[in-house]
Subunit: 215 residues, 2 copies
């Protein structure tokens, strides 16, 4: 019975996600659904990407259970940002995004980041109308994560390995992460970055800009 | 409508959790529901606690979306362990635990650890019949987590701050984590540990043993 309920919720969600997608296409905006476990550095990667510059007009939707810390960090860049508080829900769904779109100047954007709630499971199941899913994994989370949370690795177009500066202080095996992630998703594009040192941000931002321009 | 569905699921869950609790009380076993984000170190803390020794007969239920890596790590200690694969669900629920209990020698245990799926959100909403919830936070996840994931901090009796050895290599503010966590839950017991160096494990294990004996 539980499975039936979940199926119905997912079907309703996918219909609204399609409607969002129509609005995004009409406005000519490329949409990235950014996902990770809590504290992997989604907002930090956004900050570094915005600071790096992509030549694109960027907007951001921030998703959190509670609080507006992340939206305040992004607002400092002077770009449009909307904070969604899910009030307990562990992921963003298409309807939450639909209701936030009225507060964004979509037609004036080239790229919209949707920063999902920190969670390696449910966000991967709920489409929001995005062009592309991108996931972050902090290297401190360990090399067993691809095989333990396979759906997110399968659904994502790109994997950003963040906090690479901490590798020497841990026992993490980056080659195992790469091998297992690619076995789940051979087309996965992998970036090794550190928001602290700036390593790899330029390569990621250049690739992202190319994807957005291809649309 | 979605809220109604969630309420019904939670009501059904709580009935089964009560039944689990009756079985635990009858067997005289103290049950800890161990929760954290992915990669915070739940299995490592279990390993270190088992290695430290508590004088208690301990069993473990491992919850994961997929895989049996964690159960294999615990099995090396020669204690009873059951692996639950949720097949996609982002948390353990009471029924999953109920179905696993047949595979455990409950009457021969003093303490049962239930290691939940790595997720800072949903596990806090689903009782499984535990005596106590304990959460881990890896310091690398950052000091903004208590205010962003308040329910888990409110529901837990103890907070284990893990990977303390990495603090000097990050910008994390431990005093802010303590302050915000205690503002959400003034009774929260906080332990600072490092599974890598062993720091703080003795204090945690001693406290846990005391709780289980009071049980």
């Amino acid at each position: 019975m539980k499975v039936k309920v979940v199926t119905k919720i997912l079907e309703a969600n996918d219909r609204i996600a399609l409607e969002n997608r129509r609005l995004f296409d009409k406005a000519g905006v490329f949409v990235v659904n950014l996902m990770s476990a809590p504290g992997a550095g989604k907002t930090s990667v956004l900050e570094k990407t915005l600071a790096q510059g992509t030549g694109l007009r960027i907007g951001v939707i921030e998703g959190d259970i509670a609080g507006s810390d992340d939206a305040e960090r992004i607002e400092k860049f002077g770009i449009p940002v909307v904070q969604i508080n899910t009030g307990g829900a562990c992921h963003l769904d298409a309807n939450m995004i639909y209701e936030a779109l009225g507060d964004l100047p979509l037609a004036g954007l080239d790229l919209l980041f949707i920063e999902n709630v920190g969670n390696l499971v449910c966000p991967a199941e709920f489409k929001v109308g995005e062009d592309m899913k991108v996931m972050l994994l902090s290297v401190t989370e360990g090399h067993d994560k691809p095989l333990k949370y396979p759906l997110m690795f399968q659904e994502s177009s790109a994997l950003i390995l963040n906090k690479m500066d901490l590798v020497p202080h841990t026992d993490v095996d980056i080659s195992k992460i790469r091998k297992d992630a690619l076995s789940l998703n051979p087309a996965l594009k992998i970036f090794e970055v550190s928001c602290r040192t700036g390593e790899g941000i330029g390569e990621w931002a250049a690739w992202l800009g190319g994807q957005a321009r291809k649309g």
